[in-house]
Amino acid sequence: MVFNSLHFVWFFLVVYALYRLLPVLCAVERAHRGQNWLLLIGSYYFYAAWDYRFLALLAASTLVDYSCGLVLGRLTDQRRRRWVMGLSIGFNLAMLGFFKYFNFFADNLHALFAAIGWQMDFVTLRVLLPIGISFYTFVTMSYVIDVYRREIEPTRNLVDFAVFVAYFPHLVAGPILRATALLPQIQRPRGISHAQMREGLWLIAWGFFQKIFVADNLAPIASRVFAPDAHLTGINVLLGTYAFAFQIYGDFAGYSNIARGTSKLMGIELVENFRFPYLVLTPQAFWRHWHISLSTWLRDYLYKPLGGSRGSAWQTRRNLLITMLLGGLWHGAAWTFVLWGLYHGLLLILYRPFESAFAALDRKGRFGAWLVMFHLTCFGWLIFRAPSFARLRDMTQGLFAEFRPSTVDVTGILIPLLLYTTPLLAVHAMEARADDVLIVPRLRLGVRYAVYVATLYLILLFGNFGGSDFIYFQF
């Protein structure tokens, strides 16, 4: 079930009505327990709407990490504790590796053997990718690691833990939540403030705007430009890459905002996942503003355990590269994702010596840095979206060798790109100036209403109601 479907609207209306009714009908503690059961049943139904067979995986992941958490809470011997954490991580990575990367590794191994003349006819399984597996395995792993590090106490309540893992707003495409942020909110009775309602409704409307108006309208342009047999000049490749940059942003940030908004309506706060990432000046800032929950996860559970920036300059570079390579691979089992991770790793390494110079930039310098960073990010999206290395090479070649501005496709690419990104950028400008992604619900009444009404009109009149899936579901 996707957020932009009628199925979800019905589902949410029923769950939300019951959720709000429980505190009216029962005493506080009873209502709280009832709400958690409701969220658990609702979340499992939400997941089963895709494929009920994968519920077993979700339940297994929940039970294994719940049990590991309990055992870690009891054990004092550090060696044994490390074993239990290793067991949990091993289980999660094995599950992720089998379902997400089995075919990738098998195919590549086959190709490698073939390249050295060995024809290995081993069996390859056509394994289906369970939706959201990359997200919930990271959620449960972070819980066990946090318990191991004694940053949180393990929860004894299985229902609370199962809600933490399966909570439907974040289940299939994040944000990747930490137990420290979400579990306490599940464990205690929740109230819903007027501000939460207002912000929640705005986030939902804005999320739908980003998905239906921006992402789904730019998708046909990006598909056309990135089609395997397209032959376009550099200027059109560039504009198509811009279109994809805003498509993937609108798609993913839109999902995150709808998730945050629906969760706010239930009195549960989810972490911010995007903070106008295309307005930043440096590669480091990009990763602090793009998919924040993943980049902080990678920082805390991979980069820092590898040594972070504590060692020599070379060790720091190595750690950055490993983190970004694995971050790229997390997005999908394809070499283009690995290359995309490598590219961002290199950007981070190359940026580090100039870190202080960026801080001293004047207004013009900042504009130049933004322009360069935006295009570096877009080139990353070209790598990310290219259907093959051959196509990536052709598109890059076209970009630099056949730019020809006179061949720009004005009606097919340029005008739609401007139409679908200008309102988004206008709101971003407001948010960036206030350094607050929730500035709109806090604006003066007249301006706020103007933005609300314009957002709804734009969705209604120009939104693409085709109901396509969110891109990040495949990760």
Partner: protein, 371 residues
């Protein structure tokens, strides 16, 4: 109260702004600029407005559309037929009209050029027998309107050959809906003309809604949503009934009406000395695998079963007893893949490449038929 008034004022002001913007720049089929191509007609409901012209721009195409004095898509008028001119009139719906491409790119014009081995003007100048292919397609027509349009307009073009293009995707359904028109071809018996009905409509609000582009778009959106709402009680009918493994009874009725219309058109054409042939046009998903996969799931989700070429087979079977030459555009379009798209992505109409393929295949078919 103050907040509600402010919200309403904001909504009204932005409504006016969007309405203005859509009227000025909204190049959609609902835009007034595009709607000027049509005029009410007491028998047909509507037809192309003679001597009209517009530019149609969307994200996928930018075309100039000119309607001649006779009310068909052509830059030039259609006068009396010279002795050495052979006329082919192609009757059909939007797949023939083809507002998504320029006139020179339509399969009608491409066919004309191939048959003449060059542009019409050159063929005329060369002397001898030459062909003129007339695009007599009208957006939204079905077999019933096409028969009536032939009688009312296209018969006067003195055709030597009439090609009746059937869109297998929806013509059976449209034939059922339009069947009552067959029984009121006499303008006197047709009830009040469309314009009068329009003017006598008692509901001012409805009239206002029909004239507002914002409200028209909103209405279409709402219909799109309510169509997808589960209806309580009766199970909703799966879409694409013409392709259903077990179609609704109206599809059989539609096929019968379509056959009767084609037969009547062929008889009328024969009375003027013209031959008739049938051309079957497929839906996009019959050619596009990804589209087929998506629609198959949609139909399956609604409890039905989509059979990819069922509608083509049904029309083929229904029309074969008429013993008219029958050309199916599907095999040639399919054979063109993989390659650039033959259908646009945001409409179900042919791209310039799709038109080229159809024109080539149709020419081969006509030559095979001893044109």
């Amino acid at each position: 109260m103050r907040r509600t008034l402010l919200l309403l004022a904001m909504a009204a002001a932005q409504f006016a702004a969007f309405e203005t913007a859509l009227r000025l720049w909204g190049h959609s089929e609902a835009s007034p600029a595009f709607q000027t191509l049509f005029t009410p007609d007491p028998v047909l409901g509507y037809r192309l407005r003679p001597n009209s012209r517009t530019r149609f721009v969307t994200a996928e195409f930018d075309t100039e559309i000119a309607i001649n004095a006779q009310g068909v898509r052509d830059d030039a008028d259609i006068g009396p037929k010279p002795a050495n001119e052979r006329r082919i009139v192609i009757i059909g719906d939007s797949l023939v009209l083809s507002v998504q491409v320029n006139q020179q790119q339509t399969f009608c014009t491409l066919l004309e050029r191939s048959l003449n081995r060059g542009p019409l003007e050159l063929a005329r100048a060369r002397g001898g027998v030459y062909y003129r292919v007339i695009n007599a397609g009208v957006q939204g027509y079905g077999p019933v309107e096409e028969l009536l349009f032939f009688r009312q307009v296209a018969r006067a073009f003195q055709p030597d050959l009439v090609i009746h293009a059937i869109f297998v995707g929806n013509d059976a359904e449209e034939a059922v809906t339009s069947e009552p028109r067959l029984h009121r071809t006499d303008p006197g018996a047709a009830g009040p003309p469309v314009q009068e009905v329009w003017q006598s409509a008692p509901n001012d609000l409805r009239r206002l809604a029909r004239r507002s582009m914002v409200l028209q778009v909103a209405r279409l959106r709402l219909l799109g949503v309510t169509d997808r709402l589960p209806s309580f009680g009766a199970r909703p009918e799966p879409p694409l009934q013409s392709y259903a493994a077990h179609p609704a009874p109206r599809i059989d009725a539609g096929l019968r009406i379509s056959r009767d219309c084609v037969q009547a058109l062929a008889a009328d054409a024969a009375a003027t000395g013209a031959r008739t042939m049938v051309m079957l046009m497929p839906a996009r998903f019959q050619v596009d695998d990804a589209d087929y996969g998506r629609l198959k799931d949609v139909v399956k989700g609604a409890g039905g079963e989509l059979v990819r070429d069922a509608a083509t087979a049904r029309f083929d079977e229904a029309l074969r007893p008429l013993a008219l030459p029958q050309f199916d555009a599907l095999p040639s379009l399919r054979a063109a893949l993989p390659g650039p798209d033959v259908f646009f992505q945001q409409t179900v109409h042919l791209t310039p490449r799709g038109h080229e393929i159809v024109a080539r295949a149709l020419e081969a078919f006509l030559r095979g038929q001893g044109l």
